[in-house]
């Protein structure tokens, strides 16, 4: 069918306009649409991650209290936590080079206790999750029956709402009517051992162990499932080659499984360390930081200081205290992940 001149001109005109638009778009970059598509995600990241993060940094360097913006005080909040005092001349913060004294007895002792609690909590919890998560993954790999059921059910502690499951643990560890104590006293043969009753949430060491255990119970499935995914991706030929060379089960695990799981383990440990250090719900529900502050973590103590005590600047300093250390851990872990790991087949 013939095309009329007028229609032809219109089509050519539209083509030219489209070509111009195309050229203009290319001059801005290779794929403008691509930027458009990621724009909502970038906006969300800026609003929900970048802005709060920099706001927290600003708070930590100010004397802000709830409802008031506060003034810039430099590192005063951090110095206060460690008992570092400034007794020099009244100068602007950037001119204060001398006049500092350090007296640890003036440090915020709840903060120091919180520091110790957080490190113990994170180290024990992540190590337990790593060891038992690896064990659970190896068992899942060997399961021949009800595979889907086992893989699904192991995830239940991880997917169930934290507060809900922690409330369950709160009842199990109840100071007066602990289910565990009841079992120790009434269930044969446990009652023959004469153990308990234990103050799971009242004794400082047991209380910290309890919150570590609940965190481990909740986070272990994440390790198990992720490591399991790593396990199934290891080619069988490597195990067959090792068997041909006469390797025992233990040697296969040590020389084949573990090295090839290293990148997966690094990522999962990285995520778990971050989540564990930032944990709030378990401690808040189980102990509220007690007894005698022996279970306060950075998140719960900064909440107490920043929100309940109004000192949002000091609260931000407490919560940001671990950030440089965490950043270092992240960099090291990511470096480890990026190291090339080939299967050699």
């Amino acid at each position: 069918m013939a095309i009329s001149n007028t229609t032809e001109q219109v089509l050519v005109g539209r083509d030219l306009t489209a070509a111009n638009r195309q050229r203009w778009r290319h001059s801005l970059g290779p794929d403008l649409d691509g930027f458009g598509f990621i724009l909502p995600a970038v906006i969300i990241m800026i609003c929900l991650v970048v802005y709060p993060f920099f706001l927290a940094i600003w708070f930590s360097l100010s004397d802000a209290v709830i409802g008031e913006p506060g003034q810039w005080v430099g590192l005063e909040n951090f110095m206060y936590l460690f008992g570092i005092m400034y007794e020099g001349e009244d100068l602007p913060w950037y001119l204060k080079f001398k006049g500092y004294s350090w007296d640890l007895s003036l440090a915020d002792d709840i903060f120091l206790l919180t520091l110790r609690n957080t490190l113990l909590f994170a180290i024990f919890s992540v190590v337990l999750k790593g060891v038992f998560g690896l064990g659970a993954a190896l068992l899942m790999q060997r399961a021949t029956k009800m595979k889907r059921f086992i893989r699904g059910s192991i995830l239940v502690p991880f997917v169930a709402p934290t507060v809900l499951t922690t409330l369950g643990w709160w009842l199990i560890l109840d100071p007066t009517y602990s289910h565990i104590n009841w079992l120790l006293a009434n269930l044969w043969p446990l009652n023959l051992l004469g153990l308990g009753p234990f103050q799971w949430l009242g004794n400082p060491n047991l209380a910290l162990s309890s919150v570590i255990f609940v965190n481990f119970w909740r986070g272990m499935p994440f390790f198990a499932v992720t490591i399991f995914a790593g396990l199934v991706s290891i080619p069988d030929q490597l195990y067959e080659a090792a068997e041909t060379d006469g390797a025992s089960t233990l040697r296969k695990f040590w020389h084949v499984t573990l090295p090839l799981l290293r990148p997966v383990m690094a990522v999962v440990i990285l995520f778990s360390t971050i989540f564990t250090l930032a944990d709030f719900g378990i401690v808040y529900v189980l102990t509220r930081g007690g007894p005698m502050n022996y279970t306060h973590l950075f998140a719960t103590y900064s909440f107490t200081v920043g929100i309940l005590n109004q000192e949002i600047g000091l609260g931000a300093a407490i919560s940001l205290f671990l950030f440089p250390i965490l950043l270092l851990v992240v960099i090291l872990q990511l470096k480890m992940v990026r190291k090339e790991t080939g299967y050699g087949v």
Binding site: T176, Q199, G202, M292
Partner: protein, 446 residues
């Protein structure tokens, strides 16, 4: 069969990449505009009076408060809304509302909060004066005031801490009801040996904060001087009080009190285990409501519970109480309406209904109600009209303020008392530590 994608395509037409981007940009711009303007669209701007309070320990009290709010809403021709949060969550909710400068119009406040939030609460001097005149004056003139003496909240009610005792257990050992802390210690020792310890929290709980202040005051100690600024906890009297707490813990209590919350002592008494607790009448009321029985018998436990005055120490009888106040935020768009509601709620008729609905739990701060007939309705409430004589707000002999509130929220007294009780520190060291921690907070908040 039509797939969901086909259905969507039929209804809306195929979405091109460009139209998707355009819609995303328009929606984002709209949301951003609303956020920047800090104004919801017209559809969301109905006039509504909103109140937030803690979930009351006697739920019928909240039901009556809500009824009054709704009645007021009908009279004023506005929508109303009442929200409740757990009592331990209230400070966090209020902090977030103040930080965001938006939220409810009216709020329940604990006793140190009118000073803590003085910059954000409207001045209620005129209303307190008017209501006070109507009700024959106030029983306590410091509740609801900020550090400068202005009322930032209406004095609402107080929740007192008598000692709830198992009269049958005390009779079994041939003792009479305890009158002093030494009596409590002596009787407690005997009853612990029979499996019925005393239950006083040494933990991160409100009750622990109240009771331990009461013990310190009863020994002649004080946390601060009358100026409400000078920390005075480090005294021989406080050290003696801490030593008594240690003796009470060792001889008459069990380690579980270190982990208790505000619920556990009620459970301990009503389950038949504990012999004595210091608690508001909620333990007795819940035992009555739940018809809890003494284990191994058919006898209701509430029949053998009685309340007596807080025990006396060497320096007399003193106890702290939970003072509730109610205020209105400056960021509220309904400030006048909020004040009108407070005026309505503090009328004699409404206050009487509120007090009755709480079964006497909301002890009045208005003189006209202090001898209310509800306290004669049950012999176990006999203490109520008089306990106010011995009751002080946290911060006594000074006034409750921002600093006393933060000392409270950090559980400095329960923590240091627990460290002394569990032999982690001597009484002298524990008191010294409390002094250091308090001084830091008073320096920052005074």
């Amino acid at each position: 069969m039509v797939t969901p994608y086909e259905m969507t395509t039929r209804l809306t037409g195929p979405a091109s990449r460009r139209s998707f981007l355009r819609s995303s940009v328009v929606t984002s711009a709209g949301v951003a505009g609303m956020l920047l303007a800090k104004t919801p669209p017209a559809i969301g701007q109905d006039r509504e009076l909103r109140l937030i309070t803690f979930s009351h320990f006697v739920p019928t009290s909240d039901a009556e408060l809500k009824r009054q709010l709704e009645e007021f809403g009908q009279m004023a021709g506005v929508k109303v809304r009442m929200d409740r949060v757990a009592h331990l969550q209230l400070p966090a909710v209020l902090a977030s509302e103040v930080q965001g400068q938006k939220g409810h119009d009216l709020t329940a406040l604990w006793v140190g909060m009118p000073d803590l939030y003085k910059k954000h609460l409207i001045n209620l001097d005129d209303l307190v004066e008017k209501v006070g005149r109507r009700a024959g004056g106030l029983t306590d003139n410091i509740i609801g005031r900020d550090g400068e003496g202005h009322y930032r909240a209406m004095p609402w009610f107080f929740i007192s801490f008598p000692i709830a005792v198992r009269t049958d257990l005390i009779a079994e050992i041939g003792e009479t009801l305890p009158d002093t802390w030494e009596d409590v210690h002596r009787i407690g020792m005997q009853l612990k040996a029979k499996g019925h310890p005393i239950g006083i929290q040494l933990s991160h709980s409100e009750d622990a904060n109240h009771i331990l202040r009461g013990i310190i005051w009863s020994w002649g100690g004080k946390l601060v001087e009358e100026d409400s600024k000078t920390v005075a906890i480090n005294s021989p009297e406080t050290v003696e009080a801490y030593k008594f707490v240690k003796a009470l813990f060792t001889d008459a209590m069990e380690e579980e009190v270190l982990a208790w919350d505000d619920r556990n002592n009620n459970v301990c008494l009503n389950s038949g285990k504990c012999s004595m607790i210091l608690n508001p009448i909620s333990a007795y009321n819940s035992a009555r409501t739940d018809d809890a029985l003494i284990p191994g018998t058919e006898r209701p436990v509430h029949q053998v519970i009685n309340h007596i005055m807080p025990p006396a120490g060497p320096a007399g009888r003193h106890m702290s109480a939970a003072y509730a106040t109610i205020g209105a935020w400056k960021f509220s768009r309904n400030q006048e309406l909020a004040k009108e509601f407070l005026d309505f709620h503090f009328q004699k008729e409404q206050q009487e209904k509120h007090l009755t609905a709480s079964q006497g739990y909301n002890q009045p701060l208005m003189r006209a109600f202090s001898m209310h007939p509800i306290y004669a309705s049950n012999s176990k409430y006999y203490f109520a009209p008089y306990i106010g004589w011995y009751t002080h707000a946290p911060g006594w002999p000074g006034t409750p303020n921002a600093a006393s509130e933060t000392v409270w929220r950090q559980f400095i007294i329960p923590d240091t008392a627990a460290q002394c009780a569990t032999d982690r520190m001597t009484a002298e060291q524990a008191v010294k530590k409390a002094e250091m921690q308090m001084k830091r907070l008073y320096r920052r908040h005074s």
